[in-house]
């Protein structure tokens, strides 16, 4: 029962990742692409979590943490770049 539900959830998450890819390629503005990239990272965390439930293992937990950190960091850096064109300010005062 749980296995069937997990496979259905995996299919739905795959469709969500595909839609994120389409938005990243098509996105009219750069901000759409940034939001799609962030959502892609979060959806991939859910995907790996479902994979851990199906395979009944704990070895992918580091992947979840690294994906979360990198997706957050990428979103921050890209947003900073789109805001002012400079990622690391010399002196913000």
């Amino acid at each position: 029962m749980l296995d069937t539900v997990a496979w259905i959830v995996l299919v739905i998450l795959s469709v969500a990742i595909l839609l994120c890819f389409i938005r990243m390629i098509k996105g009219p503005t750069m901000f759409d692409r940034i939001v799609a990239l962030d959502l892609l990272g979060i959806t991939m965390i859910g995907f790996v979590g479902m994979l851990m439930i199906i395979q009944d293992t704990l070895v992918y937990t580091e992947i979840l943490l690294v994906l979360g950190i990198l997706s957050f960091f990428g979103t921050v850096a890209l947003s900073k770049y789109m805001e002012g064109g400079v990622i690391i300010d010399r002196d913000s005062d």
Binding site: E62, L65, F73, K80, I87, I88, D89, R90, D91, S92
Partner: protein, 140 residues
Amino acid sequence: MKNNLSLHTITRIAVFIILSFSLYLLFAGHNNPGGGFIGALMAASAIVLLYVSFDLKTIKSVLPFYYPYFIATGLILAMGTGVSSVLFGYPFLTQFFKYATLPILGEVELTTALVFDIGVFIVVIGVALLIITTIAEDDA
């Protein structure tokens, strides 16, 4: 001056989470996924997050390190573990391990590979931050 209050608040919390995760990756590295290189990349990403969220001048007053010294220290540490096994008559980079009982942690496996990994950790942090700060200081 821009108002980045939410980014500053999130960064102040997230940096410590990422740094502790990087230390976990460093110490988990011998028998599990992880290791010095990956842990150092995570620690470097935490410090780069500080640089992105604040600015170069503030973080330079908080972390007043000269990063080339990191590279030298880490290389000496990593090479020292290799050479020390030569001094005892074993091949270069032979590793030794011993099970010890520590006060809080209980029984742990102490290896000389961990010292090598800490050396790699320090080298990779130094290289990554040196490259990124050098590019950021460049006149556009």
